[in-house]
Amino acid sequence: MTAPVFDPLIHAPGRLQICAILSAAEAEFAVVRDAIKVSDSVLSKHVKALEEAGYVAVRKAPFEGRQRTWLSMTLSGKKAFKAHVAELERLVKISAELTI
């Protein structure tokens, strides 16, 4: 059971979707960019912030003569994302209980 912890770094617009993808699979930079509909530079900034926090790892892999950038979530990133999701679920639950 993961303890719920709100993580503002993950929750920032765009980063939540990046983490949603990377917590499920390793993905190429272009795939993440297209999925969250941002420019290369915006995605680079998000990735840098997540990388500095130790949540995301970046690797370059050559394929058919060009370099491709792959993004994956580290173990601590997965833990932080799980805790963040747990907190979101806790808030939804509290809100539902208050409504009843």
């Binding site: 503002p8 699979a25 993905a27 190429e28 999925a35 999701v85 979101l88 679920e89 808030l91 809100s95």
Partner: protein, 155 residues
């Protein structure tokens, strides 16, 4: 941290969870890709790995080398075309499909070795190889179904 948190209400949290679900569904959609060459390659690799063990050392080594080469090729091609990749042994539920398939293939390899090399009955390793190919295809789909559950679960 506390300030951000305090601003947040149930509706905002629900919106964030829905956004996570939508993004993950999009990622799953991208991974819903079953080209014939992946099925054929995976089945061939499983079949060769199992059958090869019962067909003598030289053929066994050659079959293993070809099977590994096929696996590397199809995985690289699939990665290049989808831009995504998952370690088969990573996801919580799906990893048991991967371990189960690995266990079944190891069992078939043992049967293949026993009948092919010890009893000298060559058709048994070949039949085991065909069974392994079918199991590989089924196992891959079971794995994907469980992986989808893992991803949709969020936890």
């Amino acid at each position: 941290m506390t300030n951000d948190h305090e601003k947040f209400d149930g509706a905002g949290a629900m919106e964030a969870l829905n956004s996570i679900r939508e993004t993950r569904e999009q990622a799953l959609g991208k991974m819903d890709y079953w080209p014939w060459w992946y099925d054929a390659g995976y089945a061939a690799a499983c079949g060769l790995l199992v059958a090869g063990q019962g067909l003598g050392t030289t053929i066994g080594v050659a079959c293993t080398a070809v099977a590994i080469a096929i696996l590397v090729l199809i995985m690289r091609k699939w990665q290049a075309e989808t831009g995504m990749w998952v370690n088969g042994y990573g996801p919580k539920r799906a990893r048991w499909a991967a371990f189960g398939l690995a266990g079944l293939l190891l069992g078939l390899m043992a049967i293949s070795v026993w009948y092919g090399r010890v009893q000298d009955i060559i058709w048994v390793p070949i039949v085991c190889g065909i069974v392994a190919a079918v199991l590989g295809l089924v196992g891959m789909r079971v794995w994907m179904a469980l992986y989808r559950k893992d991803v949709r679960d969020l936890k």
